[in-house]
């Protein structure tokens, strides 16, 4: 089960499963509910995410678009080196803040 914590105006959603087609509808609904709270800053913690597919990328972009329309922003943190490379090659880093675990070069 994904874990939600909030600090000031920032909500952090720690995902406990991969961001792939099979899990997208549930996650999309959770993001919709967070947006409806009026939150303007969402941090997605990917420390337990091992895979993101094109459906997951599309869902993240859709969430980014929705938050942008409300003057909010999404960032993704604790990405594995492989997910970081995927996000960069798909140029997601041009639109949202993407961070690794800090262990990428080890």
């Amino acid at each position: 089960m994904n874990t939600i914590t909030s600090s000031g105006e920032t909500i952090t959603l720690k995902l406990d499963r991969d961001v792939v087609a099979a899990n997208c509808s549930e996650l999309r609904e959770q993001l919709r509910q967070i947006l409806a709270t009026g939150s303007r800053a969402l941090v997605l913690d990917f420390s337990e995410v091992r895979m993101v597919d094109s459906a997951g990328l599309g869902m993240l972009i859709a969430a980014h678009n929705s938050f942008s329309r409300s003057q909010g922003e999404i960032s993704v943190t604790n990405c594995s080196p492989e997910i970081l490379e995927l996000f960069r090659s798909m140029r997601l880093h041009q639109h949202m803040k993407i961070e690794g675990t800090g262990l990428e070069n080890e």
């Binding site: 792939v20 099979a22 895979m51 597919d53 599309g58 869902m59 678009n65 594995s80 080196p81």
Partner: protein, 137 residues
Amino acid sequence: MKEELRRRISACQEAIESFCAEFKKWLGDQVTPRDAFAGELLLREALVNAVEHGCQSNRLAQVECVVRGGPGRLLIAVLDPGPGFDWRSRWDTDPDLLACSGRGVLIFRTYASRVRFNRAGNAVMLYRRLEKKIERK
């Protein structure tokens, strides 16, 4: 990993997840994390295309998948019973940066060393050259 993993799966997300789990087990720890990620991603994209577009998510339809390993290479082949995908018109087109779909072919181009579709477009073969795995002592 054994030489080949071949399955016929139902056209549904659960079957994709089950086959991907089997694929990860088949790969084991014999490839680098980067190759393991790329292989699974390529497999997922091919399977999702086959299930959603080739079979219109009709659970009664079946998708045939084969993964084969050899020295320094991985082959993934997926065949669906659909009319085929017009890959020629999509091949060189990058999706809009903020588009919510249409990244499957870009992922094939990025992560596979070679991509081949059959003439109809309902079968795809994805080859990936594998990195040499260096064991840490």
